[in-house]
Structure formats: C-alpha cells, structure tokens
Amino acid sequence: MSADAPLQLDRRALLAGGAAAAAGLAAWTAARRAFAPRAAVFVARDQRYDGPLEQTIRDGLTAVGVDVTQFRGKRVLLKPNLVEPSREIPHMTTHPAMILAAAAVFRRAGAAVTVGEGPGHVRDSEMALAESGVADALDSANLRFADLNYEETAWVKNAGRASDLEGFHFPRSVVEADLIVSLPKLKTHHWVGVTCAMKNLYGVIPGIKYGWPKNVLHHHGIPQTVYDINASLARTVAIVDGIDCMEGDGPIMGSLKRMGLILVGDNLPAVDATASRLMDLAPEAVTYLHLAADRLGPIADDRIEQRGEAWRPLASPFQILDKPHLNALRQRPGVRVS
C-alpha cells in the first residue's frame, strides 16, 4: 500500500483492532491495579478509655506491619487533636488516655516520645492543654510537650503541589522527628466532611507563621493543603481515637457519637478511607482523600487489607450538616443519611 493510498479498513479489521485495543486497555488497567498501592488498616472494637489501650495499639501496629522496636533510640512525635479544647465537649479532642497509651507503646520500645500540637483556634496553649485534660496526663507520665505554634521552624519544600504553596514552615519537633504519629479524634467536619488522621496534621503548622486560625492554608484550599502537608512530611502512622466520636457540626460544635473503635495504620489515606466507611460517608467524596488516592495511598476498599475487625459490621451512620457542599458525601449509593 502506497503512502498516499487512503487507509481502508473493513469492519472485521476495525473490530479486531478495537478488540486488541480493548484488550490492551484491560491489561493496562489490570497492571495498574496490580501495581497500585495497597495498605493494611487495623480496626479494634469494644474499646474503652479505661481499657487495655496500650495492648490494643501495640496489637494494631503489629497487625499492620509496624515493628515498634525499630524506633529504639529514635524520636517519636505524637500529634493529638487539641484544636479548641473545652471541658464541656470532651468528644472534640483526643482523649488523654489514648495519648498515654500510645506514648507507653513507643517508650517501651525505647523511643524518645514527645507530644506536640499547635492548636488551631487557641493562642493560649496552656489553656488548650488544661481544658483537654492533657496537661495532667502529660505531667503524670512525665511527657514533654512541644508547642508547635511557637517553635522555631524550618522550611520544607511542598512535595504535593496540589496548592500553589512552594513549601511549609514546619516546627523543629516535626522536622527532627523520625516518626510522626497522627492521633486524631474521629469526627465529621463542616467544611470537608471528615476529619481524621490526615486533617489532624494541620496541627503541625505553626500559628506564629500561619495565624490563628491557620488562614494561609484556607486561602490556598483546605483539601489541597491537607494533601500537601501530608505529602511533605516524613514517615507517619495513625492511631485513631474512635471511641467517643463527634457527628453533626464537627469538628468543634458537633454531638457525641459513641463508636468504641480504635484504628491503626501506617498509610493515612487508607486509614481515613476506612474511617469514612465506618462513618457511612463516601471516602471518594472527601476531596483531600480523592487527591491522595493512589498518590499517597489507596482509598479503594479492595486495596485496603482489613486487619482485626472487618469494617462493614461496625459501620454506623454519622450525621452531617444538611449543606450543599456536603451533599456528595451522602448521595453515593449505599450511604445512609441520618
């Protein structure tokens, strides 16, 4: 056939070509799925703050493949959620018993443990520690607190670039940590739907540089900056306080929702996706999880290996605000609405 001859393909050839292309696409999709990231998430049920939390957390870390003995002599930073503590709303903040239990796990492994937080709405960190009950807990265990709002900072390049921020000023304790443990409270969030392990890491951003609230981040997009912060941090794991949770107008003004759960994982998107399913909210509709999917970790159910309890029997719908920007969370098939 000359180069000038029109390309003529009969129907059979077209079908054959199409079938070959489809086969190629299927193979490519299968290969992509085969090589796509997988992660394990541990779920424990029937948990209580006066129960054997240390054992549960240790079991969870082991179940997801985290050998805590590797942190002997290393610096471990525990990052609870103390966004705006109030004695009247204990289900807003990470329970002190969870912090002590997580600290005990890493201390017994020989790690140097620090608890750090940069409360997002409160300039007086001593007030945040007192109102949350964390001050007494830290004293009782002789644990050091790093006030991430006021520490000296180091500039770290934004490895995510979902926002146009070129980098972040991270506090010294964050930069120097060998492991950052996100210790969130499982809550709804009135702007982004769900707040758990990834969103909790907003609290590593120093108020002295970004304000109270950390309005610089808001101006660059909450989902985008949640993704970027997580992409820019060194090694992280998550231990989720899902015992007494918050539904409705979270993360501050919502109502108590008892779940009795602890989640553990070394891939934060996978942990948050599982948390969303437990709340009966669609993880794909949480924008920062959508951004993180297959970049920072898996959020698809079939790529998350469940350890401990299966999530489906434990799922219980969390109420969310009836607002248009949250509709996608509950318009997905199978998502129930309270």
Binding site: V122, D124, E126, A130, Y150, P213, N215, H219, L321, K323
Partner: protein, 283 residues
Amino acid sequence: MRGWIDIALEHLAGHAVCGYSPGQAPASEPTGLAAMALLLHGRTAAAQPALRHLAEAQCEAGGVGIRRGEPNPQWPTSLAILAWQTSQDVRYRENLHKAIDSLLAVRGETMPRTPDLGHDTTLSAWPWVAGTHSWVEPTALAVLSLKAVGQSEHPRTREAVRMLIDRQIPGGGCNYGNTFCLGQKLRPHAQPTGLALAALAGESKGASRITASVAWLARNIDARTPVQSLCWALIGLAAHGAAPKNADSWLQDAWRRVSDRGVSSYKTALVLLAAKKRLQIAN
C-alpha cells in the same frame, strides 16, 4: 522582704530579649511585651536590649517580623510600636514612624457577605498574615498601638473598632474571630476577649456588646485560669473598670506557677503587665 513583683522584674531584667519559652530563640512578641513590662515598672535601662532587638527585627519597609531574620509575617509590628512609644525614646522615633506606616499599609482581605458566616466579612482590619482575612487578636493589637500613638480617630482605627465590636459573640465574649459558622453560634475564649476589650476601652458605640463581653469574661476567669488567658483577661477587664477584687492574688498565684516551671520570660512579662492593669496608652 521583696515582693513577688520585684522578683519577677529582676528575672525579666536579665532576660528581656526572650523567646516564647525558656531556651528558645528570641521572638518579637515576647520581647516586645518584656520591654513594655519593664518600662511600665520603671526599669528603663533594663528594657533597652529589648527595644534594640525589636529595631533589629524591623524590615526596611518598617514591619517587624516574628523573629530577627524572619521578616514575615509582620503581625508583631503593633507590639513594637507599643514598646517604642512607651519608651518615649527619641532614638526609636524613626523606627516608630516607619512601623506605623507599615502597619497602616496592611489590610485584611474582605469578601462578600455570606450566610455561612455570622460576622461582617466586608470590614477590613488586620490579619495575622498579609493576604488573609482580618482576625481579632492582630486587630486588637493594631488598635492598641494606633491609639497609643494618637491615631484613635484614624479611619483604619475606626473601621477596626467596628470590626472588633462586630466579632463579639451575642451573649458576650469573642474567640479568634468567628461568631457564627454555618448557623451555629461559636464559643468565646478568655484571651482574645481580654485583648479585644483592652482595644475597645473608651468606645461608646457597641456598648451593649462590650458590656456583655465584660460580664462574660468576669464570669469565666478565676485563680485557676492559665496564665496567658488570665493576664489578657485582667488587662481587658481593668480597661473597663471591672477588674475582679481578687485580681492581685490571682496574679501572684500565676507568677508562682510561672516560676515553678522554669520561668518563662514571656509569661513573666504578661503577669507584670497585668499587675499594672494596663498597657500604656498615650491617648
């Protein structure tokens, strides 16, 4: 026998250039507060290193960064203005004028009003960081500093006063700067309420909201209130003639707590300022 104030002043005189916690690199906010505390207690010579440090943290355009060598953000500019103005030292006159010009050049971002937020988003005051929205504490500090240099009637000061009144939560008090969010009334906090009330001293408009905030704050502090919040609360209440009768003993107890924990110069400065019951305001 020396009183606790003398002991606290002696500590601060030796650590006037200070960070937020012991051993931390010096920062402009605690150093500015230390300078003011020393000056108000008559320790002019001891305040000099702090005043110089603030000058060294000042950028060419006049703004003062959070630490020397960290020019942004510049919200501590207001504290430097207060410190230099309180010193009445002619050596800092140029620093002072440049800082005032720089402060007046910064405006919080506005946005159209939305039913999602309870406050008037069209009012512009001061942000923590340039390019973001106006919030209570940087605005209160800016108003205090502008009033201190005789700019009470400046249009920016007036708009900022309106903003601070607008950000008071119905029922009293304020927080970082939101009143209602998505229809939900939010909770007030002691520190921003105290700071806002200090800035609103002498204001007649919005009297009912100010009165409600004074009452809320008076009800919500006691001897156990953490030091920072207690000090700003007492400064704010004193600005409205509503200092609690136990204020002095609460401050003495607060100083004991500070000195038991490695003596934070930052908190020492706040306790000493609260003991004076005012930030020095010229007008």
